[in-house]
Symmetry: C2
Subunit: 580 residues, 2 copies
Amino acid sequence: MDKILRIDTSAPGGPVARTDALGTYAGLGGRAMTSAVVAREVPPACHPLGADNKLVIAPGLLSGSAAAISGRLSVGCKSPLTGGIKESNSGGQAAQVMGRLGYAAIILEGIPTNDALYKVFINKDGVTIESAADLKGLGNYATVEKLAAQYGEKVAFITIGQAGEMKMSAASVAITDMEQRPTRHAGRGGVGAVMGSKGIKAIIVDDNGCSMRSPADPEKFKAANKAFAEGLRKHPVTGEGLPTFGTNVLTNVVNEAGGYPTNNFKTGQFDGASEISGETQAALENQRGGDGSATHGCHRGCVIRCSGTFYDKNGNYVTKQPEYETVWAHGGNCGISDLDVIALLDRMDDDFGLDTIEMGATIGVAMDAGLAKFGDGQGAIKLLQEVGDGTPLGRILGNGAAVTGQVFGVERVPVVKRQSMPAYDPRAVQGIGVTYATTTMGADHTAGYAVATNLLGVGGSVDALKPEGQVELSRNLQIATAAIDATGMCLFIAFAILDQPDTFNALVDLIGAFTGQPLTADDVTALGKSILTNERNFNTAAGFTAKDDRLPDYFKKEALAPHNVTFGVSDEELDTLYNW
Amino acid sequence: MDKILRIDTSAPGGPVARTDALGTYAGLGGRAMTSAVVAREVPPACHPLGADNKLVIAPGLLSGSAAAISGRLSVGCKSPLTGGIKESNSGGQAAQVMGRLGYAAIILEGIPTNDALYKVFINKDGVTIESAADLKGLGNYATVEKLAAQYGEKVAFITIGQAGEMKMSAASVAITDMEQRPTRHAGRGGVGAVMGSKGIKAIIVDDNGCSMRSPADPEKFKAANKAFAEGLRKHPVTGEGLPTFGTNVLTNVVNEAGGYPTNNFKTGQFDGASEISGETQAALENQRGGDGSATHGCHRGCVIRCSGTFYDKNGNYVTKQPEYETVWAHGGNCGISDLDVIALLDRMDDDFGLDTIEMGATIGVAMDAGLAKFGDGQGAIKLLQEVGDGTPLGRILGNGAAVTGQVFGVERVPVVKRQSMPAYDPRAVQGIGVTYATTTMGADHTAGYAVATNLLGVGGSVDALKPEGQVELSRNLQIATAAIDATGMCLFIAFAILDQPDTFNALVDLIGAFTGQPLTADDVTALGKSILTNERNFNTAAGFTAKDDRLPDYFKKEALAPHNVTFGVSDEELDTLYNW
């Protein structure tokens, strides 16, 4: 990965590609790359859909190598949803392919002078940009089908659906999985809207004729990789829980802990939880045939393999196995306990190119506004269809919960920095509340997954219901996460590296052996801090203050059943998160 | 004015009234009162539509007295549109009546537990609160008609239309004029949404049996009042321009200066300007009969009398004479040059209870989104009707230009702090650009009307097209304006007091004679500064930073025809505005 592809979309005749040397960005991957480019090149006060914003797509530092589970792709920009910096990462095949093609980043720049759509094809011979007029208005599935007919089944696609074309703030960037389906999404913060604003419908990456990236020290690398993968396999979460039931294994866990946000964050337990749990889902999938639940990874090289496929009653493919956050967003948060409805909503989100978390939270707010009743699955499907159709109501919903709340005069809107909260109520899982409040990203569980320590006993134990110790926990996790997000590694490695010192050491060795520059644990921490500092500075320059590092008031005032607990971490404590 | 009426809307059985002594609020009027109460009692981080926000309605310090032109009513709260503090003031009869009833403020507090609507009747005998279920969903005109049938023709009404009930961020609070029509509005910042969130549809104020407020020194007061009124009558703007052509006298002036924002702020001159100018409007009104243009004030005691009545072709009443900003918003900004269309849009805004500036700017953005063509009057009427009807599209538009821009993915949105800019392009009238950027209110021409000095030669002369001197100009005007907004005086007195030292002195004497505490010019300045400081501190605590004191980027990059000028005041200069 020795080059950066820059595509200037403002040229009158259509986008123009140029390849740059890495320069000062050498050695950066994933979130370290996207946040560095955004922080350095994007004016913080610019309009997210304007010429000055850039969309940065970067594989991880180890993507394209033989390193286990290193295929996450980072997508960064100034977010149209939050107005701050954004890095949203995803599985799928594209990161490994980009890594093998040698691109450390693709950067979409400028703004088109008309509304023409383009596709970008990248292979070992270079870059070709062509009209994508025939893809206009298509969902991700139809887009990928058309592209596959042209480019074959061995390439990976990075695409947007209707939501991205309509520049909706909840629009995602889709990345095809191992079955070349658009099921993996850089979902959060409206990165798809920025891709849409640049007039790029699809990026096709083809590593035919490219070889795997070679480590600097092959022997050390091989040994470290083996130890690392073994560590993942032996940890109960990554070796057993996730592969067996998928991420949805969490439904019962979080619900039993009383931290499962139900009916737009009104209570912490959902009566219908058992009907949509990972266990029920796995049984259903096994019963319906196909390849059953949790049988493969979302990208080549995954050793956890927490993914699966969801089939309908008749054994027809619907979508990938819906993730826990999706099942929650379209399930418990909307009072819906029908897995078929949830899977269909997941499929629609993937097709339109929408963040499932934002959409579930938004429909919850819409239900509070009276647009449908909690529990009304068909009502939710109808609302989501409006988004794909781009009706005025759909435009509202497709721009997320904060806009929907304002438009319908609803006070109860579970957002931080205008981004919707995911599947853990911050009152009953106070550590994740600290992450929601303070991360540069807007409410985001992946930015510092304190749920692990609050509820799963991973990385120590901090009482989920009490404020004590949560800031330190979240701080350490946010730093570690930022570093992991730079490697291309799936965040799920955190379980094993937090609990197993030998697995953490194997990771450090793995990176060192790959780059040839031996690493220490302190280097990893320093990397994480430098990423967060870049991001935080960007947000400050964009106008964010400590006042933006807050949960909505009602989390501090309204006690959550069954524990009757409010969010107890004080503003003063929150403001110490970046003191390191 | 020795008491404050507080209405707690959260009581289960319906709102409960309580009368308080003035306490620390003694001596405050208008904006000084509303901003003091909001700054002291409203948590800056609260949700604008939640229980912690308060709607403060305050007559000016001199309202209810014989002081000339002292009938402005201030309405304050945390704004649902900007998220910052808001004071929006209006003419109409209510301020004088409230003053005579002795209420220095009415404060709506709490949040109802259901969606019942109430009306509050206030007369010399006290306060009565009753169900207003029969007014639900009615526009301001129908509301006032029903109320007049019950309360008679001598009372004044403070009401909301459908927009306020729907808690739209562009919703206004309507105040009836001398003809008991709901034509005067505290328009800006969504104050009507806050009234709606409190479940109060109407406040009826009846000063039957009350006497005019007496000055402390009647003789001095009388003499000062006479000199003051004479000063207003002898200044060319308030003695001639405004009475003859109404505020719309500005269309030709601003258009000729190249600062008339046309087609959503794309150029600075409008081809159709002469068709909608004050001169044309006055001729049309005279031709159509009725009382002609500019024949009376918007409230008792006005000596400028810049208002009039607009009749249709057949001589039927349509609306009050549309103000310059309204004619611009629904006219040139949308490419519309038909006064009948503009007057109808004004009538619809008044009836639904909407800010005409916000709605015109919003329709301009909607036109850029392709929802109608620039110049399409019927298209604009259709869009505005959707707002009154509360359709999803109407909900979008009724929440203003910032929401509309986000929902439809439009970059070109002329707002500061999410509030739409009024009728002067900040590139060609750079002083007003400084006011838009820096006032606590969001883009607002009335907060520091630098147009006077930039274009009209009032209060000196500062070149409209250059950045030099604009910050000082805006600073001084913002301070003076805040003080004027505390008195209940119409802002139009500024022309005379800026140009005529004897008129300024008469005003100072007038206030001193009324209160019995002689005033100096320094006291006036100190009052203005203290109001601004209150407001600025609130906004800072709500999370505003210097980054919010900026115009959208394109005003700095895109040159405005015909002068081909960009906004040239640097960020560093803007940041000195509050250095006094």
